[in-house]
């Protein structure tokens, strides 16, 4: 830290820089620290303390659910109390003096639910809700928080003195069935023991099935008069049925009737009707019951009825605040109903409200517990969904296969049991099965599970399952249940009319607009899943959110009732959408497949010839080479070994030995040659090339001239050391044959001799002339650096320019030189310009003849008569540049002069 602190030393400040005084530094530092600290504090607490000013301006709405003017007045008083307290807290906490209004909104049960759930409505409200409206609105997605509940005067009055002293009492109430004492066979009130639920059920069972007891209610949203009794009835198999159940059916039939018929009446009327015998059953709460206690104005009715309590306690009305209300205002509301802030006098009224208390205090713990119980009851009870498991062939007789199927079935049953879902294994106990699972084995030991919903083939599902062992199969089926299978859900029986709603309890969504399958079923017995499907129809989803799926009302009747036997169940289809990867793969497949089709069409049009063979440039060379090889074929078959001394017209032995020496140098160093000699001497078997090499390595004086020459020629051919020159231009013939091969499909196979070859190429075309000339020029270049071997019929004449001279060899007699020449018409005229010769361009451009010459001293044993023609092979090298000369008949010839190494009579081959 010290190192970072600027140090001001006397005398070091530069010109014009004044040193600040220590006091000024301290003040600045303090300011910075204050600003930083203030910023931190404001950042840390700003989110909690800030209250949107518009909420102060606009105030709040107080949503009141009531049919009762006394209750309405009490709500108005509550609103005033809250507003004044908020105003007071605002002044105390924020030091702001401004008005704060809470306006009363009166609602029926139905409209209150709509108001609270509607996302477009005024979102800042505080509401007093009956417990059932509270849970319905919460289940349907209303966003609010419970902040308090009230203490009931009616309940308090029904308690003993000691219980009244307890501050935590009277925050909940009970619900009671009301029955006519006389009809139930009970004595006057106070005589004997009051009946319980057991006696109540016996009483219901005593009614003939065709004349069931009537149950009266005044509102479907009344927790005590309708909701709680309906839950009780459903659990006990007491059903509001139009038709008479079978004699052996355990169902208890009742008939429910709405005495308000959509209007508003007090629950007191229910008791009066039961007392008057107009209906057999009803249900009320503590507050209503209190009106009929002895000593009250309604005692005459009260004495005629019995109140049978239900076990479930219900919370009193609840004070809720919408989630959008700021935390500060919410806190002020809570403070406003605390013991210190609210007493009996604060909401003077003739209704049931003594005072309100926060829901999170010890006094209201019973209310919290009762509220939790109510929430649980209000949820749609998930009916067990029965699954019948079938295997492909249950009657299979093969023991091994039967054992495998048993294993599969057991694994599937275990999966059902362990999946933690509503799926249960169907057994004979159940009248119907909802799903059918068909299991069958397929290839490689895998299994296919086919799941179908009875009567709804559209929602069949099929899963292929591979597994390692039965335990693994159980896990996999369990995964499918939890993650892949469709679900059956019932329309919530407390849905608003025209808005059939399925409370969402599944992790997948059904999109708005999607159509789902619905079955209308009439229960005979829910416990045994006994029902009859009355009709099937499709219903589109009109609203889908995290809490519910609302279906279109079309197809649904008004017969849906929480107490009734009619129910609507729907298949919630689990989305099974293709993953993008496979969509992409599909597109790629289509593109490739279509591309393949297009390519096939294009390639089908392409002519196969050239494509089937090698590339044209390779073809030209290959065809030419092939012709050259064919030309020399006789030498490959050992003809060289047949050379007779008599056939040797001329041989330059010295030059041959020099050449052999050069060639053998190329075969390796002296020591590798020595090794080769040794190896050749030891090896009995060797190939022709090894033999040739060995023979050529042998010293010249050990073999005769013809043998030496024969070995050399064979060696040169096997090593491909000869030039391609064959005494004529082979190109045309070679390429014509190649063309025949290319188009062999169209041209019949020839007999093989060049003469029989069809003429596909035009001999006189300028293109072929240029092509042949260019290639032939290359061949001539090659002939200047490599030996050539070719056969001609030579004309002979003495060299007029030669005189008797010696070749410097004592073993050769002195003779005249002889000129061997051959003039031949070329297959194709050569274009001089394309030959690539170093000679100057000659006229004319096209040459049709070839003149080949060489000079020899013939051996003494050969008698040459001037003008005689000799058929002979020449082994020699082109020793001069080709030149264009005029022959005696005036034709232009390309003159090629060779230096011979050996000349052999043709018949030798």
């Amino acid at each position: 830290m010290h190192g970072l602190t600027p140090v001001w030393r006397p005398g070091v400040a530069g010109p014009g820089i004044s040193r600040p005084s220590p006091g000024r530094v301290r003040i600045l530092s303090a300011l910075v620290a204050l600003l930083a600290g203030g910023a931190l504090v404001s950042c840390g607490s700003g989110a909690e303390t800030q209250t949107p000013p518009e909420q102060f301006e606009r105030g709040l709405k107080l949503v009141s659910v009531t049919y009762d003017k006394d209750a309405l007045a009490a709500d108005a008083n509550l609103g005033q109390h809250l507003a004044s307290k908020i105003k007071q807290y605002m002044e105390e906490d924020l030091d702001e003096k401004r008005p704060f209004a809470i306006d009363l909104e009166r609602h029926t049960y139905d409209s209150a639910v709509t108001r609270l759930v509607d996302p477009d409505g005024e979102s800042n409200y505080v509401a007093r809700l009956t417990p059932y409206v509270y849970v319905v609105a919460e289940l349907l997605g209303a966003e609010f928080d419970v902040i308090g509940t009230y203490r009931s005067a009616a309940v308090l009055n029904s308690l003993s003195e000691e219980e009244r002293e307890d501050e935590s009492t009277a925050f909940t109430y009970r619900c009671y069935f009301v029955v006519n004492r006389e009809k139930m066979g009970l004595g006057p009130l106070g005589e004997g023991r009051e009946p319980g639920l057991l006696a109540f059920e016996e009483y219901l069972q005593s009614f003939p099935r065709n004349a069931p007891p009537r149950f009266a209610y005044h509102s479907k949203f009344s927790a005590s008069s309708f909701f709680l009794p309906s839950v009780y009835f459903r659990r006990r198999g007491i059903i509001d049925m139009e038709s008479v159940p079978a004699e052996d059916s355990p169902v208890i039939r009742i008939r429910a009737e709405d005495i308000a018929k959509g209007g508003q009446i007090s629950s007191k009327r229910l008791v009066e009707r039961v007392a008057d015998g107009k209906t057999e059953l009803a249900a009320v709460w503590d507050g209503t019951k209190a009106y009929f206690e002895s000593g009250t104005a309604f005692e005459k009715y009260g004495s005629k009825v019995a109140f049978i309590p239900l076990d479930q306690a219900l919370p009193n009305d609840l004070l809720v605040v919408s989630s959008s209300v700021s935390p500060r205002i919410r806190e002020w509301i809570r403070r406003a109903i605390e013991r210190e802030s609210m007493d009996v006098d604060d909401i003077k009224n003739d209704a049931d409200f003594l005072y309100w208390r926060p829901i999170d205090t010890r006094d209201t713990s019973k209310a919290r517990s009762a509220l939790a119980g109510l929430r649980q009851l209000a949820r749609a009870q998930i009916a067990p969904v029965t699954v019948k498991i079938e295997t492909a062939d249950d009657s299979i007789r093969d023991p091994a296969a039967a054992a495998e199927l048993r294993t599969l079935r057991q694994a599937a049953e275990d999966a059902l049991r362990l999946s933690g879902s509503e799926f249960v294994l169907w057994s004979e106990f159940y009248a119907n099965y909802d799903f059918v699972w068909n299991l069958r084995t397929i290839h490689d030991g895998a299994v296919v599970l086919h799941s179908s919903v009875e009567g709804l083939p559209r929602w069949d599902q099929e899963f292929q399952i591979s597994y390692q062992n039965p335990r693994d199969l159980t896990e996999r089926i369990g995964d499918l249940i939890r993650g892949r299978m469709h679900r059956l859900r019932h329309v919530w029986p407390y849905s608003k009319s025209g808005e059939p709603t399925i409370l969402r309890d599944v992790d997948f969504s059904v999109d708005k607009g999607e159509t789902i399958q619905v079955q209308k079923i009439v229960w005979a017995n829910q416990e045994t899943n006994a029902f009859v499907i009355e009709k099937r129809f499709e219903a589109p989803v009109v609203q889908a959110d995290s809490r519910r799926f609302v279906l279109s009302g079309q197809g649904f009747g008004d017969d849906l009732s929480a107490m009734g036997s009619i129910s609507y169940r729907a298949v919630l289809p689990r989305p099974s959408e293709e993953r993008p990867l496979f969509t992409i793969l599909t597109v790629v497949f289509i593109v490739l497949f279509l591309g393949g089709g297009v390519a096939a069409a294009v390639e089908l049009r392409r002519r196969p010839g050239l494509a089937l063979q090698a590339a044209p440039t390779d073809l030209i060379g290959e065809a030419f080479r092939s012709s050259v090889e064919r030309y020399r074929e006789p030498w490959r078959n050992g003809a060289s070994r047949e050379i007779a001394e008599a056939d040797l017209v001329d041989q330059d032995r010295d030059a041959i030995e020099v050449l052999v020496a050069e060639l053998m140098e190329d075969e390796g160093t002296w020591w590798t040659q020595a090794l080769d000699r040794l190896r050749f001497a030891r090896e009995e078997s060797e190939d022709d090339l090894q033999r040739l090499t060995r023979d050529l390595l042998i010293q010249r004086d050990k073999v005769g001239g013809t043998r030496r020459l024969a070995d050399l020629i064979e060696y040169l051919i096997r090593r491909d050391l000869l030039s391609s020159f064959t005494g004529t231009a082979l190109e045309f013939e070679a390429w014509n044959r190649a063309a025949c091969e290319l188009f062999s499909r169209a041209v019949p196979e020839s007999g093989g001799s060049p003469e029989e070859e069809p003429q596909l190429l035009n001999r006189d075309g300028a293109c072929i002339e240029r092509l042949v000339s260019t290639h032939f020029g290359g061949v001539l270049k090659e002939a200047r650096s490599s030996l050539s071997l070719f056969r001609k019929v030579w004309g002979t004449r003495k060299d007029p320019s030669s005189s008797r001279s010696s070749r410097g060899s004592e073993d050769r007699l002195i003779h005249d030189k002889w000129i061997f020449s051959c003039r031949e018409r070329l297959p194709v005229a050569l274009d001089i310009g394309c030959l690539g010769l170093d000679t100057e361009a000659a006229e004319p451009n096209l040459i049709r003849h070839l003149l080949i010459e060489f000079k020899v001293y013939p051996p003494v044993n050969l008698t040459i008569i001037e003008g005689q023609n000799i058929d002979a092979w020449l082994l020699g090298i082109l020793d001069r540049y080709p030149s264009v000369v005029q022959s005696d008949d005036g034709e232009s010839c390309l003159r090629l002069h060779f230096k011979p190494l050996a000349v052999l009579r043709g018949p030798a081959c």
Binding site: F463, Q464, L585, T586, V588, A600, E603, S626, E629
Partner: protein
């Protein structure tokens, strides 16, 4: 055997016969003694992890075009391409291309065989945690049943389908087969089919391509040696005229 078409045909028949016997024997050993079953799951797990645990969840929701199309590629185009190419190459005057093709397939199998025997990897769909199904079963289960004698359930690495297809495509381009572009495009659908149908893992495909390229290179080398030997024997060897 390598110098005549008949000999090469016998060679490829032997390769496929060996494949049949190997698959049969492996199945029997697995069924009777459970040989290699545990290792197959372990190695399949490794393959799955090599793909970073990518799941084929909702594979059964794949559209029918993909199911039918890729099944067509895998079970239809693949053998047609293989046999068609063999016939086309066998009809050529030169034996070289046919030899490279047959040798390529044979070497491919020889290189793959040790992996099939000692490195068993389950087909993707057969590995329970992969989330895949055998998509061709949407068409008919008979397809894989017909194919199974030639393709063991755990002979997944390397992908023989992929490697054979790459051999085919490579030979088509090396020897300028007339329908080579078609072969390339349709061959690509075969390689993709091995993945899309839920049969092979990506490492199988990569290994298959590698094995195929090595096989073709070796086959071409062997062919060149054989051609040189044949040239020496018949004297048909030649060099360019200008050499």
């Amino acid at each position: 055997m390598l110098t005549t078409r008949a000999g090469l045909t016998v060679l490829i028949v032997l390769v496929f016969a060996a494949n049949l016997v190997e698959t049969w024997a492996e199945d029997r050993l697995k069924e009777t003694y459970g040989l290699g079953a545990e290792r197959a799951y372990d190695l399949s797990y490794a393959s799955h992890q090599a793909e970073l645990g990518f799941s084929f969840e909702l594979h059964d929701a794949t559209n029918l075009i993909a199911a039918y199309g890729y099944s067509l590629s895998y079970f239809g185009i693949y053998p047609i391409l293989g046999i068609g190419l063999a016939v086309a190459l066998a009809r050529r005057r030169q034996i070289g291309a046919f030899r490279v093709y047959i040798l390529g397939l044979a070497i491919d199998y020889v290189l793959s065989l040790p992996f099939f025997l000692f490195f068993p990897v389950l087909e993707r769909w057969a590995y329970p945690r992969s989330g895949a199904m055998l998509l061709s079963d949407k068409v008919t289960e008979a397809l894989i049943e017909a194919f199974r004698p030639m393709s063991g359930l755990d002979n997944c690495y390397p992908s023989f389908h992929t490697s054979m297809t790459v051999v085919m495509i490579a030979v088509c381009f090396l020897y300028k087969v007339r329908f080579r572009v078609t072969a390339l495009l349709l061959g690509t659908t075969i390689i993709l089919a091995t993945y899309a149908l839920g049969i092979h893992w990506i490492p199988d495909i990569i290994a298959g391509i590698g094995v195929a390229l090595v096989s073709v290179a070796l086959a071409a080398r062997v062919n060149r040696k054989l051609e040189e030997r044949e040239a020496d024997a018949t004297g048909a060897r030649f060099q360019p005229a200008s050499a």
